[in-house]
Subunit: 146 residues, 2 copies
Protein backbone atom coordinates (compact mmCIF):
# COMPACT_ATOMS: atom_id res chain seq x y z
CA UNK A 1 0.00 0.00 0.00
CA UNK A 2 1.33 3.41 -0.96
CA UNK A 3 -0.10 6.57 0.55
CA UNK A 4 0.89 10.06 -0.42
CA UNK A 5 -0.49 12.41 2.20
CA UNK A 6 -1.30 15.85 0.87
CA UNK A 7 0.79 18.51 2.54
CA UNK A 8 -0.37 21.87 1.29
CA UNK A 9 0.02 24.06 -1.77
CA UNK A 10 -0.32 21.05 -4.05
CA UNK A 11 2.61 19.12 -2.63
CA UNK A 12 2.49 15.51 -1.39
CA UNK A 13 4.66 13.47 0.97
CA UNK A 14 7.06 11.31 -1.01
CA UNK A 15 6.28 12.92 -4.36
CA UNK A 16 9.17 14.90 -5.82
CA UNK A 17 8.68 17.85 -8.13
CA UNK A 18 10.05 16.83 -11.52
CA UNK A 19 10.92 18.65 -14.69
CA UNK A 20 8.02 18.68 -17.12
CA UNK A 21 10.38 17.47 -19.85
CA UNK A 22 14.15 17.19 -19.97
CA UNK A 23 14.71 20.23 -22.13
CA UNK A 24 13.22 22.43 -24.77
CA UNK A 25 11.98 25.94 -25.39
CA UNK A 26 8.49 24.80 -26.36
CA UNK A 27 7.14 24.88 -22.79
CA UNK A 28 7.37 27.39 -19.94
CA UNK A 29 6.99 27.45 -16.15
CA UNK A 30 5.60 23.92 -15.82
CA UNK A 31 6.40 21.10 -13.39
CA UNK A 32 5.33 17.45 -13.01
CA UNK A 33 4.64 15.18 -10.05
CA UNK A 34 3.87 11.47 -10.39
CA UNK A 35 1.17 10.54 -7.87
CA UNK A 36 0.72 6.99 -9.11
CA UNK A 37 3.18 5.23 -11.40
CA UNK A 38 0.95 2.41 -12.64
CA UNK A 39 1.51 -1.33 -12.86
CA UNK A 40 -0.04 -4.43 -14.42
CA UNK A 41 -3.06 -4.22 -12.10
CA UNK A 42 -3.75 -0.61 -13.00
CA UNK A 43 -1.82 0.31 -16.16
CA UNK A 44 -2.11 4.07 -15.95
CA UNK A 45 -0.06 6.84 -14.52
CA UNK A 46 -1.52 9.77 -12.57
CA UNK A 47 0.47 12.97 -12.77
CA UNK A 48 -0.09 16.42 -11.33
CA UNK A 49 1.10 19.16 -13.67
CA UNK A 50 1.39 22.70 -12.49
CA UNK A 51 1.86 25.74 -14.70
CA UNK A 52 2.91 28.99 -13.07
CA UNK A 53 1.28 32.25 -14.15
CA UNK A 54 1.99 32.96 -17.79
CA UNK A 55 3.38 29.48 -18.48
CA UNK A 56 2.30 26.77 -20.91
CA UNK A 57 2.74 23.12 -21.85
CA UNK A 58 4.11 21.95 -25.20
CA UNK A 59 1.82 22.15 -28.20
CA UNK A 60 1.77 18.49 -29.21
CA UNK A 61 -0.23 15.42 -30.18
CA UNK A 62 0.10 11.64 -29.83
CA UNK A 63 -1.82 8.41 -30.35
CA UNK A 64 -2.52 7.87 -26.67
CA UNK A 65 -5.32 9.72 -24.91
CA UNK A 66 -5.38 11.87 -21.79
CA UNK A 67 -8.01 12.31 -19.13
CA UNK A 68 -7.48 15.60 -17.35
CA UNK A 69 -9.08 16.92 -14.16
CA UNK A 70 -8.38 20.55 -13.36
CA UNK A 71 -7.67 21.08 -9.67
CA UNK A 72 -5.92 24.38 -9.12
CA UNK A 73 -6.66 27.84 -10.47
CA UNK A 74 -7.83 28.72 -13.91
CA UNK A 75 -6.32 28.36 -17.32
CA UNK A 76 -7.09 27.64 -20.92
CA UNK A 77 -6.57 24.66 -23.14
CA UNK A 78 -6.38 24.31 -26.88
CA UNK A 79 -7.93 20.93 -27.66
CA UNK A 80 -8.21 20.16 -31.37
CA UNK A 81 -9.65 23.38 -32.77
CA UNK A 82 -11.25 24.74 -29.61
CA UNK A 83 -9.95 26.93 -26.85
CA UNK A 84 -11.51 25.83 -23.58
CA UNK A 85 -11.70 27.83 -20.39
CA UNK A 86 -10.64 25.52 -17.55
CA UNK A 87 -11.90 25.78 -13.98
CA UNK A 88 -11.32 23.52 -10.98
CA UNK A 89 -12.85 20.04 -11.30
CA UNK A 90 -13.60 20.36 -15.00
CA UNK A 91 -12.89 17.02 -16.69
CA UNK A 92 -11.44 16.93 -20.23
CA UNK A 93 -10.81 13.94 -22.44
CA UNK A 94 -8.10 14.58 -25.00
CA UNK A 95 -8.61 12.08 -27.79
CA UNK A 96 -5.81 10.52 -29.84
CA UNK A 97 -3.95 12.67 -32.39
CA UNK A 98 -5.58 15.89 -31.31
CA UNK A 99 -3.35 18.95 -30.98
CA UNK A 100 -3.40 20.28 -27.44
CA UNK A 101 -1.72 22.86 -25.27
CA UNK A 102 -2.46 24.13 -21.75
CA UNK A 103 -1.86 27.67 -20.56
CA UNK A 104 -2.10 29.27 -17.13
CA UNK A 105 -3.82 32.60 -16.88
CA UNK A 106 -1.52 35.59 -16.52
CA UNK A 107 -1.84 35.98 -12.76
CA UNK A 108 -2.74 32.50 -11.57
CA UNK A 109 -1.10 29.16 -10.90
CA UNK A 110 -2.90 26.45 -12.85
CA UNK A 111 -2.74 22.77 -11.89
CA UNK A 112 -4.36 19.57 -13.14
CA UNK A 113 -4.28 15.82 -12.77
CA UNK A 114 -3.52 14.01 -16.02
CA UNK A 115 -4.19 10.29 -16.34
CA UNK A 116 -2.42 8.42 -19.09
CA UNK A 117 -1.66 4.86 -20.21
CA UNK A 118 1.68 3.53 -18.91
CA UNK A 119 2.29 2.21 -22.45
CA UNK A 120 2.26 5.15 -24.79
CA UNK A 121 3.81 6.69 -27.86
CA UNK A 122 6.03 9.72 -27.79
CA UNK A 123 4.34 13.08 -28.43
CA UNK A 124 5.09 14.83 -31.69
CA UNK A 125 5.40 18.57 -32.14
CA UNK A 126 3.88 20.42 -35.07
CA UNK A 127 5.78 20.89 -38.31
CA UNK A 128 5.74 24.27 -40.03
CA UNK A 129 2.90 22.99 -42.20
CA UNK A 130 0.98 21.80 -39.13
CA UNK A 131 1.38 25.19 -37.49
CA UNK A 132 0.14 26.97 -40.59
CA UNK A 133 -2.96 24.75 -40.55
CA UNK A 134 -3.56 25.15 -36.80
CA UNK A 135 -3.05 28.91 -37.00
CA UNK A 136 -5.58 29.31 -39.80
CA UNK A 137 -7.99 30.31 -37.04
CA UNK A 138 -6.86 33.74 -35.75
CA UNK A 139 -8.02 33.06 -32.19
CA UNK A 140 -5.91 29.91 -32.11
CA UNK A 141 -3.00 31.67 -33.84
CA UNK A 142 -2.82 34.12 -30.95
CA UNK A 143 -3.25 31.37 -28.36
CA UNK A 144 -0.54 28.92 -29.32
CA UNK A 145 3.06 29.07 -28.15
CA UNK A 146 5.55 27.08 -30.19
Amino acid sequence: MTIHKYKNEYAWDGVPVLKYKEDGTHFKNITRRVLFGGNDNLPCEIRYFEIAAGGHSTLERHEHAHAVIIVRGKGEALVDSKIITCNPFDVLEIAPLVWHQFRANKNETFGFFCIVNINRDKPTRPTTANIAAIAGNPEIASFIRT
Copy 2:
Protein backbone atom coordinates in the same frame (compact mmCIF):
# COMPACT_ATOMS: atom_id res chain seq x y z
CA MET B 1 -13.41 15.36 -27.29
CA THR B 2 -15.56 15.04 -24.19
CA ILE B 3 -15.72 17.79 -21.61
CA HIS B 4 -17.59 17.58 -18.35
CA LYS B 5 -17.77 21.06 -16.91
CA TYR B 6 -17.91 21.13 -13.15
CA LYS B 7 -21.14 22.67 -11.91
CA ASN B 8 -20.94 22.92 -8.14
CA GLU B 9 -21.30 20.66 -5.12
CA TYR B 10 -19.42 17.87 -6.87
CA ALA B 11 -21.74 17.60 -9.84
CA TRP B 12 -20.68 17.72 -13.50
CA ASP B 13 -22.52 18.48 -16.74
CA GLY B 14 -23.46 15.28 -18.50
CA VAL B 15 -22.51 13.00 -15.61
CA PRO B 16 -25.47 11.27 -13.98
CA VAL B 17 -25.50 10.22 -10.36
CA LEU B 18 -25.58 6.44 -10.31
CA LYS B 19 -26.24 3.82 -7.71
CA TYR B 20 -23.03 2.65 -6.06
CA LYS B 21 -24.11 -0.95 -6.66
CA GLU B 22 -27.40 -2.44 -7.76
CA ASP B 23 -28.44 -3.70 -4.38
CA GLY B 24 -27.21 -4.90 -1.04
CA THR B 25 -27.15 -4.03 2.63
CA HIS B 26 -23.35 -4.02 2.81
CA PHE B 27 -23.01 -0.33 1.84
CA LYS B 28 -24.78 2.83 2.95
CA ASN B 29 -25.35 6.39 1.65
CA ILE B 30 -22.97 6.14 -1.28
CA THR B 31 -23.28 7.24 -4.92
CA ARG B 32 -21.15 6.89 -8.05
CA ARG B 33 -20.44 9.14 -11.03
CA VAL B 34 -18.38 8.03 -14.04
CA LEU B 35 -16.22 10.95 -15.17
CA PHE B 36 -14.28 8.98 -17.77
CA GLY B 37 -15.36 5.59 -19.06
CA GLY B 38 -12.07 4.42 -20.59
CA ASN B 39 -11.24 2.96 -23.97
CA ASP B 40 -8.37 1.22 -25.79
CA ASN B 41 -6.28 4.39 -25.75
CA LEU B 42 -6.68 4.86 -22.01
CA PRO B 43 -7.98 1.65 -20.45
CA CYS B 44 -9.07 2.99 -17.11
CA GLU B 45 -12.23 4.37 -15.65
CA ILE B 46 -12.37 7.46 -13.45
CA ARG B 47 -15.23 7.50 -10.98
CA TYR B 48 -16.28 9.97 -8.32
CA PHE B 49 -17.74 8.25 -5.27
CA GLU B 50 -19.52 10.22 -2.61
CA ILE B 51 -20.45 8.95 0.82
CA ALA B 52 -22.91 10.98 2.86
CA ALA B 53 -22.31 11.51 6.57
CA GLY B 54 -22.32 8.21 8.41
CA GLY B 55 -22.23 6.12 5.24
CA HIS B 56 -19.73 3.54 4.00
CA SER B 57 -18.63 1.52 0.98
CA THR B 58 -18.67 -2.28 0.87
CA LEU B 59 -15.93 -4.12 2.74
CA GLU B 60 -14.38 -6.06 -0.14
CA ARG B 61 -11.26 -7.12 -2.03
CA HIS B 62 -10.36 -8.00 -5.62
CA GLU B 63 -7.37 -8.73 -7.83
CA HIS B 64 -7.45 -5.36 -9.54
CA ALA B 65 -5.96 -2.29 -7.91
CA HIS B 66 -7.40 1.15 -7.14
CA ALA B 67 -5.79 4.55 -7.12
CA VAL B 68 -7.85 6.90 -4.98
CA ILE B 69 -7.61 10.68 -4.63
CA ILE B 70 -9.68 12.20 -1.85
CA VAL B 71 -11.40 15.39 -2.94
CA ARG B 72 -14.27 16.24 -0.63
CA GLY B 73 -14.47 16.28 3.15
CA LYS B 74 -12.89 13.86 5.52
CA GLY B 75 -13.32 10.20 6.14
CA GLU B 76 -11.50 7.03 7.03
CA ALA B 77 -10.42 4.00 5.09
CA LEU B 78 -9.56 0.50 6.14
CA VAL B 79 -6.80 -0.64 3.79
CA ASP B 80 -5.41 -4.07 4.56
CA SER B 81 -4.87 -3.91 8.34
CA LYS B 82 -4.65 -0.15 8.75
CA ILE B 83 -7.24 2.52 9.33
CA ILE B 84 -6.24 5.64 7.49
CA THR B 85 -7.51 9.15 8.11
CA CYS B 86 -8.35 10.66 4.72
CA ASN B 87 -8.16 14.35 3.90
CA PRO B 88 -8.61 16.18 0.60
CA PHE B 89 -5.95 15.44 -2.02
CA ASP B 90 -4.49 12.48 -0.14
CA VAL B 91 -3.57 9.76 -2.66
CA LEU B 92 -4.02 6.07 -1.76
CA GLU B 93 -3.03 3.03 -3.74
CA ILE B 94 -5.09 -0.01 -2.85
CA ALA B 95 -3.10 -3.04 -3.90
CA PRO B 96 -4.61 -6.30 -5.20
CA LEU B 97 -6.43 -8.59 -2.76
CA VAL B 98 -6.33 -6.13 0.11
CA TRP B 99 -9.49 -5.75 2.19
CA HIS B 100 -10.74 -2.18 2.04
CA GLN B 101 -13.67 -0.07 3.12
CA PHE B 102 -14.29 3.68 3.10
CA ARG B 103 -16.34 5.54 5.66
CA ALA B 104 -17.49 9.15 5.85
CA ASN B 105 -17.15 10.93 9.15
CA LYS B 106 -20.37 11.33 11.12
CA ASN B 107 -21.11 14.90 10.10
CA GLU B 108 -19.39 15.28 6.78
CA THR B 109 -19.86 14.35 3.15
CA PHE B 110 -16.83 12.45 1.90
CA GLY B 111 -15.93 12.20 -1.79
CA PHE B 112 -13.07 10.73 -3.78
CA PHE B 113 -11.91 9.96 -7.29
CA CYS B 114 -11.20 6.28 -7.86
CA ILE B 115 -9.24 5.16 -10.91
CA VAL B 116 -9.54 1.56 -11.97
CA ASN B 117 -8.72 -0.75 -14.90
CA ILE B 118 -11.60 -1.12 -17.38
CA ASN B 119 -10.85 -4.88 -17.37
CA ARG B 120 -11.29 -6.10 -13.85
CA ASP B 121 -12.48 -8.94 -11.67
CA LYS B 122 -15.57 -8.78 -9.53
CA PRO B 123 -15.04 -7.80 -5.88
CA THR B 124 -15.55 -10.47 -3.26
CA ARG B 125 -17.00 -9.90 0.17
CA PRO B 126 -15.56 -11.47 3.30
CA THR B 127 -16.68 -14.87 4.50
CA THR B 128 -17.40 -15.44 8.16
CA ALA B 129 -13.86 -16.78 8.54
CA ASN B 130 -12.43 -13.70 6.78
CA ILE B 131 -14.38 -11.42 9.09
CA ALA B 132 -13.13 -13.25 12.15
CA ALA B 133 -9.57 -12.78 10.92
CA ILE B 134 -10.04 -9.10 9.98
CA ALA B 135 -11.77 -8.37 13.30
CA GLY B 136 -8.93 -9.89 15.32
CA ASN B 137 -7.76 -6.31 15.74
CA PRO B 138 -10.29 -4.56 18.05
CA GLU B 139 -9.85 -1.17 16.37
CA ILE B 140 -10.68 -2.73 13.02
CA ALA B 141 -13.52 -4.76 14.53
CA SER B 142 -15.23 -1.55 15.60
CA PHE B 143 -14.50 0.13 12.25
CA ILE B 144 -15.88 -2.38 9.77
CA ARG B 145 -19.48 -2.54 8.61
CA THR B 146 -20.58 -5.77 6.99
